[in-house]
Symmetry: C2
Subunit: 100 residues, 2 copies
């Protein structure tokens, strides 16, 4: 039995990972833009990004633009591989072929 | 923002729904065969089937084969429609097109 990565499978994190995975490798997305795109409150997005960051799937860069703090988010190589693996397992599950 | 049906999205129930959806309409699967196929304990399978039954997605038929009790499980029309809808929303989410 292969279980889907629970860190990715939760709907909100699946939406975050999908959005970040659409970026070119190395590209970053502004935290505010991500929250807006996914229609998430900053607090909710922050909680999920922390979980994704804790397992090394996303990188969170805090910086300044002039005197204004700005946060950028990107998928790490680990996160990209985990997401690809998740999609592979999801497809296998949905095709009914995940019987060990 | 469209959320994936949480009754279906949980991994174990997703595997159960996938297995039942593979049956022809009206066909039933023996509880024991389903448990074996999905490598679930009877207790675990039972808990998830109850949740799916509570929302009307699966029908559970308890019967007797000779003097032996036997349980059969099938997808209801509601369950089949909910599963199709889930797959549609999942595909939309993964293609990044579920922005409201």
């Amino acid at each position: 039995m292969n279980d889907l990565d629970p860190v990715i499978h939760a709907t909100t994190r699946l939406r975050i990972m999908t959005a970040l995975n659409a970026l070119a490798l190395g590209d970053k997305l502004a935290f505010n833009a991500l929250a807006r795109t996914l229609d998430l409150t900053p607090g909710n997005l922050s909680v999920h990004l922390t979980k994704l960051s804790d397992v090394g799937y996303v990188a969170i860069d805090k910086t300044f633009e002039g005197r204004k703090p700005a946060t950028y988010v990107s998928l790490t190589a680990t996160g990209r591989a985990a997401f690809e693996n998740y999609l592979t397992e999801l497809r296998a599950l949905l095709s009914g072929s995940d019987k060990e």
